[in-house]
Symmetry: C2
Subunit: 160 residues, 2 copies
Amino acid sequence: MSEVMGLDPADWAMWREMTTMRSSVDRALEQRLQRDAGISGADFDILHSLSVAEGNRLRAGALAESLGWEKSRISHQVRRMADRGLVERADCPTDLRGTWVVLTAAGADAFATASCGYVETLQGVLFSKLDEDDRASLRRVARTVVDGLLATDAQPSPTR
Amino acid sequence: MSEVMGLDPADWAMWREMTTMRSSVDRALEQRLQRDAGISGADFDILHSLSVAEGNRLRAGALAESLGWEKSRISHQVRRMADRGLVERADCPTDLRGTWVVLTAAGADAFATASCGYVETLQGVLFSKLDEDDRASLRRVARTVVDGLLATDAQPSPTR
DNA sequence: ACTCGGTCGTTGACGTGTCACCGGTATGGC
DNA sequence: GCCATACCGGTGACACGTCAACGACCGAGT
């Protein structure tokens, strides 16, 4: 019971360090976004997706898919952002069930204000510390792990 | 505006992939814990810290420090876990302000049940995909990034 | 003994993410 | 046209994390 059962202690230590790194970086980004533009990381993700979208608007479902979020999460987040004037809802004429989420001028401003600091922070805390080998390794690992999980999820009964 | 301003598109893609990897792995772990033992990842972290502690008990502050959580988060989490019988609170005789958090038999059982699947999942989705170079790279990156952030936080006025 | 700054843990309010479920709408087969 | 089915997005309840503020307590200096 001195360590977690059946796992290489070095691997366990690495897992802990990765967890710490992740929360530290997230924290730095959140704080920077809050300070620069008064928005959260989730706000930023939505604003980014809308900014790169055709006509600065997306259907709620497309937004969910582009971010890998659940639809209900999108709905809650968009409602809160609409309350603050960062986005607007609009009815979809071709599908009465659908909803467009549209970037407002205020939302575009907030994104423009925020993105510079966001990139700067990311560059400062993460990318500047990586050499080419690290980049290749990270990218390969991320892709392999995600692909592995997608393959597992696709199976009818993945475990047990 | 086609990509986020001033950042190498490859770096941006890597960041996205890292984010996806993180949430996928977290998701797999959460689901496994829920299925095996009916506990959350936060529950597991607390149970693990208590399991390796002397006498299966820790002061709330020590728990917070060992996990890098805020004290209030510990307090909320412990209250919820105490409601479910996974831990108990006990007064500290040497410091009347203090509180011991004590692992119960039910908590120890839940941790024993959960840890095997947790390790198995982690091994399956992550560690099994890593070679020695990846491990070294990840470990070095994690440590460098965290150290960098600690140094930044220590400064009186890091940015602007 | 007293006071005062610091520490311990808790609480309430708030924003957030997930889950189960719902009403309204589209769509393909009849 | 009609109907079963699937889909779209929203809602409410709940668990979670953060923040600011608090009461209780410790300990050092006087």
